[in-house]
Symmetry: C2
Subunit: 213 residues, 2 copies
Amino acid sequence: MARTRRSHSLTLDAIIDESLRIVRDQGVTGLTMRAVAAGLGVTPMAVYYYVADKDDLLRLVVDKLCISFGLLATAPDQDWQDSLRGYLVNMWERSRRYPGLSTHIINQPGLGVTPERLEAGLAFFDEVGFPPSDARLAWSFAVTYIHGRISVDAHLSRHPGVTHLDGLKARDYVEFGVDAVITGLEEMLETARRTPTTNTRYPRAEEPAERPL
Amino acid sequence: MARTRRSHSLTLDAIIDESLRIVRDQGVTGLTMRAVAAGLGVTPMAVYYYVADKDDLLRLVVDKLCISFGLLATAPDQDWQDSLRGYLVNMWERSRRYPGLSTHIINQPGLGVTPERLEAGLAFFDEVGFPPSDARLAWSFAVTYIHGRISVDAHLSRHPGVTHLDGLKARDYVEFGVDAVITGLEEMLETARRTPTTNTRYPRAEEPAERPL
DNA sequence: ACCTGAACACCGTTCAAGT
DNA sequence: ACCTGAACACCGTTCAAGT
């Protein structure tokens, strides 16, 4: 016989895991409240007991994926460039298993970055030598690029018709891009060190206040 | 009296323009076949005479926006860095007026880049001095980053709750990012010139063929 | 050729009800 | 507390029919 509780077996974790399974197998378009419920052998409205609405579910699903990215940190046996490269490529490899989800990661406040991940990211660039405000810009830049790359690849893997000219593969684009991101950041770091008062190298236009990452 | 034809006034251009208006005013979530039809004073199914389905409509809408980006070209009075900067910032400024559309730009084959735009992009990086295969990587890198940035900003402008720490504005992130992209590309160009046989600076892993941009 | 009208399948979600 | 069942509003789309 089973343990004490056999009905009441539905849990939030099971809902999130089933959702991730659906996204992995059928893409994010296959993720419907009804499909999640069916996969768990339950009525669609049962899910709503654990989740406010579909946006809420998507947030939880994205969070679970993003947590698996781990925290960006300097490693004692390698330079910061290699640490960052490994971190970004790992994000790319993990995300591309869940087709279409990157769109929703990007639509999350702070790119699905938990306070913990953000703090680790800022600490990383602080250790590297970026001034505080530039650390945020650098972290955002790296993460924004890799999510852009993931989104593009997500589509291309669904469109076999698109030619890969010059024999270039998806990995070539990521590696070139990540290298360019890193060398770009190296140079921004040098610039910031030379001119500690400004964080970009040309005067910027005035604009009404907005709220970025 | 009106010109010869007064009924039969529905055109593909009117459909695309009405769609862009809806996206500009209500975001891409407001763009429904029914809303487009209603805006044009017509039955939902009338639109289907000019358009295969909603994906087709989205493609046409994205194309119209992307055409407005113009062609990337070297200007006689400025260096390639400033040309590229102006081009990318212009893409960012135009795209952000159509909330949520960037997602669908990214989901288009080749990022909504027409053959004409692609050719101009490749020619630009070829002129700058990139070897042929790197020109494609460089173009893709720059465009991928700016679309990532656009997607992130699209969300943030809808979420006033997200704090803009350190007083940073959306434009600060774009300008830092575009600067980093450009300095990154400068360095990649130097690397390519020094070692003309490889286009990245570390050995790459083997992987099954895929089809990137 | 160009457009209407009714209908279908599917979705997220509300609401009342069951245990 | 946890879940069901019926219903609603909205969507993309098919299909037959009108002019």
